[in-house]
Structures are given as C-alpha cells and as structure tokens.
Amino acid sequence: MNTNAGNPELPGKLDGIVLDGDSVRAMRHNMHELANVFTGVMIAAGLLSQYLEGGSLAPYASDICEESERGSALVRELRGQLLAACGDGEPSPGSLPADPTPSQF
C-alpha cells in the first residue's frame, strides 16, 4: 500500500507498522482515554457556551467547543483506522497505516 501520498516528508519505506496484541491493547486503551477526555471537555464546553452566550467571553467558550469537536473527530478517525487494521475482537498482530496525514493529527 502506498501510504506516502501527499506526505513528502515521510519516506516510502514507512509503509506499515506491524503491531502485536499488547500494542493494540495499549492503543485501544489510549483511544478510550482520549474519547473520555473529549467527552468531558465537549459537554463542559457546551454547558459553558450556553451560559456565556452573548457575553464577551462567549467566543472563547465557542473556540473550546470547536476545537474539542475537531479533537473528537480525530479520535474517531484514528479509532476507525485501528478498527480496520486490527478488528474489534481480541487483539492480534495487525498492521496500521504509518502515514497519518497532517489533517488527521
């Protein structure tokens, strides 16, 4: 798979990384933690945004909402990739695309 398209800084030899079960588990765990973090941020930011609506501080709250939405979208995307590479059952060695584009991170 040519995973280097649109990313001239990464050499083509980084075509894929083979992950063992422990690595998959660790990545899943981290994804879950990230999802939790973003859920907490998005709900708190949403509440705050409503409270500050119309005030001078409202744009900041709105920024937190937007940025946390972006972060959440990235988590979903990464999770999708992990899912595609390793499935959702008991972790087994799987390969993960090693060329995340700048828009993904």
């Binding site: 994804m31 859920t39 907490g40 998005m42 709900i43 949403g46 509440l47 946390s68 988590v75």
Partner: protein
C-alpha cells in the same frame, strides 16, 4: 459526592440545591472546588426548547461512569432537561442505587473498572427489566453495541459525544417512556372498560377487588381467595399470577375437591419408581411442576387432614419429598388457595389445620357474589353474548324483559350459572333475540316471585313451584353444611349423583 447514590429523588434534588446554593460543585472524591454556579448554567439550560420539564421530572436517571467529568456533565445536562439524577462510579455503587431507588433510565459506560459494563447491563435488566438502558461505548465497535442491544439496551452512544448528542438521546428516551406510559394508561383503560384481566365487572365491589388483586400480584405472599361457588376464584388466581412478576413462570391449578383422596398426595408431591403398584417410573408432583411460579390449590378446604400437614411442611421447609422417596427436593412456589367453605369454622371444628390456615391466610380476598353486584349483570351478559357470537358466528342480543328478569334473579350459582343460562338461551332461541321463554325455568319461575302481586292475574304470594322449593332445599343444605355435598345428599335423602345432577342444572356445580 454531590449526588449520593442512595436516598430518594427528592433528597437528591435537595442535596443538589444545597450544593449549588454555595456556588460549589463537589466531586466524587469529596473535595470542593469553586466553579461557575451550576444553578446559573441549569437556568440557562432550562430556557432551551426541550420537552416538558415536569414530565421528565417524573423520571429517575442513573449515570454510571468512572470518569468524574462525564458523570457530572451528563448529570447537569439531564437535570437541565428535568430528570432526577443519580450517579455511580462503579458497578457496586450502581447496584446500591438500583436497590434503593426506582430508576427509570440508566446511562451506562460499557468500560467500567471491575465488573464490565455488559455484566452491569445484564444485572440491571435482571433486577429491573423495565429500566431503559443507554450504553456509552468507547470503541465504535459494532460488536459491543450489538451485544449490548442483544442484552436489552435501548440505545447506545459512542464516545466522544457532545452536549447536543447527549441531549438528543435523553430526549428520545423521554419520548419513548412517555409513549410506553401512554400505552400503559391506554391498556389500563381498555382493561377497566370491562374489568381486570379476564375478570368482567365495573361495580364498586369489583373495583375494590381489582385493587386488592393488583396489590397481591406484586407480592410473593400466599393469598387465600374466598368466594361462593361460581364467582370465579380461579380467574382471580390467574389474574394475580399473570399480572405479577411470576407471569412468565408456570401457573399450576389443582382442584383438591375433585381429586381422589388417595391420589392427591402423589399428584401434589410426585412419586418415585416402585413407590406403589403401577409406579414404574419417577413422576414429578404438581408442586414441582410449579417450581418458580404459582400453584393454585382450589377447594383447599377439601384437602384431607393428613395431607394438610404434609403440605404445611412443604410450604414451611420449601421442599417436598415424593411418595416413596427419601430425598427432599427443594421447591420455590407461590401458593394461592381458594375455598367456598368457612375455613375459620373448619379450624374451630378441627377439620382444617390452624397452622396451615394461618400459613395460607397471609393475604385474603373475598370475591363478591353476583347478587352483591347486580349492576355488572348487563356487562356480563354482553360479554358472554359477544363471546358466543365470536365462537358461533351468530349475532345475538337480549330483550329488555329478559334482562330485567335476569337483574331481579338472585343467581345462587353466580357467574357460572349466568354463563350457563346465556349459553342455554342462545342454543334454544330461534331468532337473534333472547326472550324470557328462552331462559331456564328456574329463572323464569323467579319472575313469579319477583313480580309485585298487583301485576299478577291471580295472587300467588307464598306459593313456590316445586322445582324452586327443591332448589332452595338443596342449595340451602349445602350452604348450611359449608359446602359438604356428600353430607347434604345424605341429609336430603337423595343420591350423590342426583345432587350433582341438580347442581349442574342450577349451574351451581364447581
């Protein structure tokens, strides 16, 4: 923590008000931190167009997540919608809340420390099958969501989710529960149109009975059902069983009065191979067949004394010993018993064990006789005619005169006699309308007693037809002897078969 897992919804709301009045929000760790007063945020949320807060206020929501920020965020959003909220950070805490509070909705994280979310879901559904569970899953994994739905989850939401997604799902649950509640009310209305379950009647006496049945249905105590022959004791027993938590378990009815005394024991307790001649294999008893459900012991007053003690032991020890067996078998059955005899008198006479009477008489209800609720007669007549129309395909109705006469009659055989009367009239009538002439002679002859003397061509006050005198003598004797038909036949000087034939004729045979 701000919302303790125990206590009532009212207490929760009071706690919440206390915590927000100081402008602080307390975390699960017990530490306080100054924040934006939550009341202000909730006030802002209350301005949001959402469902009627008062409606949602009826619902208790339990949020189970080990992440403090998620728990508290979800709680604040749910409170803004109007839910009463409870929070728990682990499975054990969640179970404690479920045990002490009537939770309607659970928002459950699938990934919990200790017992996993799916296990918690299973347990929630086991403890409170009607509770709506929304699972929060972190993996976007179809597998875990499908598994959760299979185990009874109502919906799932994938982390990370934002305020709007959360509000949308909570609103959806609210809509779902409102619909269920409306359906329930509708079903209740349909039910009360005629009666309760299969029981027909709207008289105050019956309304009172339905209330008792409803209470009895939701307990596991024995119920003693009292009522004259033909009042529908088995129907009441079935209603108790099928409107309570045992509805999916077996309902086994046994008529202690119709079983040959020598067979009652083996019928009730079962037998082992070789226990007696013909016992060539083990057979489970009816008590065992009802295990986990309800056993209905009709005509319990007819149970021989020696079996009364055996039954008492089985109920007390919750185990039975089959005939010829040495090993005790544990049983878990709810007992409903019925009789038309005066058991208190039977206890006083020594024909019924006092301890068994007390064991069975934890809850008792008396079914009114038909003459005590004559206003239900038109409804019952309509019900039986409708049923016959369904089974025969022939539309029938009843003339005003016939109905008037039926309303004046005393119906000693109660509903069974009325049912029998309608069936007979439908079979005999040549047209679509039932007239007085189609009714049984006992009912027709009643007219002569019921009609005022001025309406009759020849005054016949005090004169009873022989058939009516005979009926009164038979029914009166049975009543005086508290249902002992054999003794009644002996004292009346007629054969047992004749007595049963007569009772069948009167529609008074149970």
């Amino acid at each position: 923590m701000a919302d303790s897992g125990s206590g009532t919804a009212v207490e929760q709301k009071v706690n919440h008000c206390l915590s927000v009045s100081h402008g602080t929000r307390t975390g699960d760790t017990g530490t306080s931190r100054t924040e934006v007063p939550i009341t202000t945020i909730l006030g802002a949320l209350a301005m949001e167009p959402t469902r009627d807060k008062a409606e949602a206020n009826l619902l208790n929501l339990l949020i189970v997540d080990d992440e403090r920020s998620i728990r508290e965020g979800c709680r604040d959003v749910a409170q803004g919608i109007g839910y009463s909220t409870y929070i728990a950070d682990n499975a054990e805490h969640a179970f404690r809340v479920l045990d002490t509070t009537s939770i309607d909705v659970v928002l459950l994280d699938l990934r919990l420390p200790g017992l996993g979310g799916l296990e918690v879901l299973k347990e929630v559904k086991r403890r409170r099958p009607e509770t709506v569970v929304i699972v929060m899953t972190g993996y976007a994994s179809v597998q875990s969501a499908v598994q959760a739905m299979k185990q009874g989850a109502y919906d799932y939401v994938t982390k990370p989710f934002n305020l709007e997604e959360l509000r949308m799902i909570l609103d959806r649950v609210l809509g779902h529960l409102q619909l269920s509640s409306e359906n329930r009310i509708l079903r209740q209305q349909v039910k009360s149109k005629e009666g309760f379950g299969a029981i027909v009647g709207r008289s105050p006496e019956m309304e009172k009975l339905y209330r008792i049945i409803s209470k009895g249905a939701h307990s596991s105590h024995p119920v003693l059902i009292l009522g004259e022959s033909g009042t529908g004791k088995e129907l009441v027993a079935r209603s108790i069983h099928f409107s309570g938590p045992y509805r999916d378990k077996p309902f086994v009815a046994i008529d202690c009065g119709s079983l040959v005394p020598t067979l009652i024991e083996s019928e009730l307790f079962g037998y082992v191979k070789g226990a007696f001649t013909g016992a060539n294999k083990n057979k489970d008893g009816l008590l065992q067949a009802a295990d986990g459900g309800t056993i209905f012991l009709d005509e319990i007053g007819e149970l021989p004394t020696d079996l009364q003690s055996k039954l008492l032991r089985a109920l007390q020890e919750k185990e039975i010993r089959p005939v010829g067996g040495t090993k005790a078998i544990p049983i878990d059955v709810r007992v409903l018993a019925a009789t038309n005899r005066d058991l208190e008198q039977a206890v006083a006479q020594g024909t019924f064990r006092k301890d068994l009477y007390f064991r069975l008489n934890v809850l008792s209800l008396r079914i009114p006789s038909l003459r005590q609720r004559k206003q239900d007669i038109p409804l019952l007549v309509g019900h039986f005619l409708e049923r016959l129309t369904r089974s025969t395909g022939m539309q029938r109705n009843i003339s005003d005169d016939a109905l008037k006469l039926m309303l004046s009659y005393d119906w000693p055989g109660n509903i069974r006699e009325l049912e029998n009367c309608i069936e007979r009239a439908c079979a005999l009538t040549s047209g679509p309308t039932i007239h007085i002439a189609d009714l049984p002679t006992t009912v027709q002859n009643w007219r002569e007693q019921a009609e005022p003397a001025s309406e009759r061509a020849i005054p016949r006050r005090g004169i009873l037809p022989i058939a009516e005198m005979e009926k009164q003598a038979i029914l009166g004797a049975i009543e005086m002897l508290h249902g002992d038909k054999l003794e009644a036949a002996r004292l009346l000087g007629i054969g047992k078969t004749t007595l049963y034939r007569k009772l069948k004729e009167y529609g008074a045979l149970q």
